[in-house]
Symmetry: C2
DNA sequence: CGTGCGATTGACTGTCCTCAACATGGGTGG
DNA sequence: CCACCCATGTTGAGGACAGTCAATCGCACG
């Protein structure tokens, strides 16, 4: 049931550094779990009791102020690892943005296993370092970029992660992808309001840099000019 | 010369998890180095060739846009670890804010040593996870807080890190500390302009929440009300 | 005593937010 | 099947907060 053999992320998730035998043991420490869109896995401030691999779907990590203002501080795609090992508190809320499947582990059991398998810890370290680099890059966006620059950066960033597999076209001179986010969530990622996001998207559309065939679909028409707008 | 015995951070830096013998070996992989205020250790985009422990002084990690807008994405105090192990590129500039001393290691040698000492890697992992939590918390500030909230948060944050050792007073009902930053750098930490920082500080002073005896010194007069202004 | 750097203050501007109306589209029930 | 509704997104008008530009201050240093 929790067999790794048919796991779609077995070659990319952190467990890919383990031997089959080791992986089977780790697998049995936890279990697969389904989340429906909107469902929250753990809350900011909770005791950290669970960590997980994302198998399918998209999760968001978010934190918020007393009056409800929210900031999304991370996004987890399939093969990503979520949760806070080696610490007793989760400092952000983890929720499913789309329907999702994860393989979750009780933190204690996972930590014990990890400490006995340094190569797994090493893999987690590498990921965490990359996450830290990314989040610092995002701080530049939040602190210093204009609304237009934020959206240009966001769209290019998404296009890297979400390049539609279904490339029916002969070539792909303009790429197309489907956002897993609604406008409000884009706003919460970029530190803007939903109205500003909407306005900037229509601006970019009017300027023929992008096309929005549908609320969630994006076509990048002019990657170069979009790149220039990111100001980096 | 590079003896650990007299190192002021030996009990707090990552090497504190090592035995004396191991630590001596690690020590000899690198060397102590002095940095004067303003001096840059490594540049954003450089090949990552060095990592280091901070022994004394304060360093900043920063990244910037094409036109010079800068965002400070991290601050390193004594006993902190800087640089990017297990990755070939540094994604932010590391510079000394005050005169500083570090113990730096060629990345390759350090990595080899770390891989042979899982408990050191584990310590680095713990630190990196904490750093990631902190940087995500800071994203909330950058994306969602007002100028006033940013400054209140900043001042309380600094007071935690910088509580003046020299507590001559019987008790410390109001705490005092000296910022290692000028106004421009505060602005670059908070994602504001220098003028806004200055104005907000005078506001807080007029409201008798703080006192600024000198450009770098801060007295917190009313920690509770300041806490309320952080809106969390 | 002048020079220069950092910080402060002021006047004005612009970007983004707020509030509100309106559009769109998918789902449900009559 | 259509009318209605609700959720989501767009558009508009007006305002506020922080940015820009510029003058002034204070202080350390030569």
């Amino acid at each position: 049931m929790t067999a790794c053999a048919d796991c779609p992320v077995r070659n990319r998730a952190i467990c890919s550094v383990l031997e089959d035998g080791e992986r089977a043991i780790l697998s049995q420490i936890g279990h697969r779990q389904s989340l429906s869109a909107g469902q929250t896995l753990m809350w900011e401030g909770d005791k950290s009791s669970v960590v997980a691999n994302v198998i399918e779907g998209v999760l968001k990590l978010s934190t918020s102020l007393g009056d409800g203002r929210e900031q999304i501080v991370g996004i987890a795609y399939p093969a990503d690892f979520v949760g806070r090992p080696f610490g007793d508190q989760t400092r952000y809320t983890i929720s499913a943005i789309t329907d999702a499947r994860i393989h979750s582990f009780p933190r204690a059991g996972f930590e014990k296993f990890a400490q006995e398998h340094p190569k797994l810890e090493h893999r987690i370290l590498e990921r965490t370092l990359t996450e830290l680099d990314n989040s610092r890059q995002w701080m530049l966006l939040l602190g210093r970029k204009t609304a237009q620059e934020k959206l240009a950066t966001f769209l290019l960033d998404m296009s890297e992660r979400l390049k539609d597999e279904c490339c029916d076209e002969i070539l792909a001179p303009l790429d197309k992808f489907t956002l897993p986010f609604g406008r409000q969530q884009i706003a919460n990622i970029l530190g803007l309001t939903i109205e500003t996001v909407s306005r900037q998207l229509t601006e970019l559309t009017k300027a023929d840099l992008i096309k929005l065939p549908d609320q969630r679909e994006v076509l990048i028409l002019d990657r170069n000019r979009l790149q220039e707008l990111t100001d980096l």
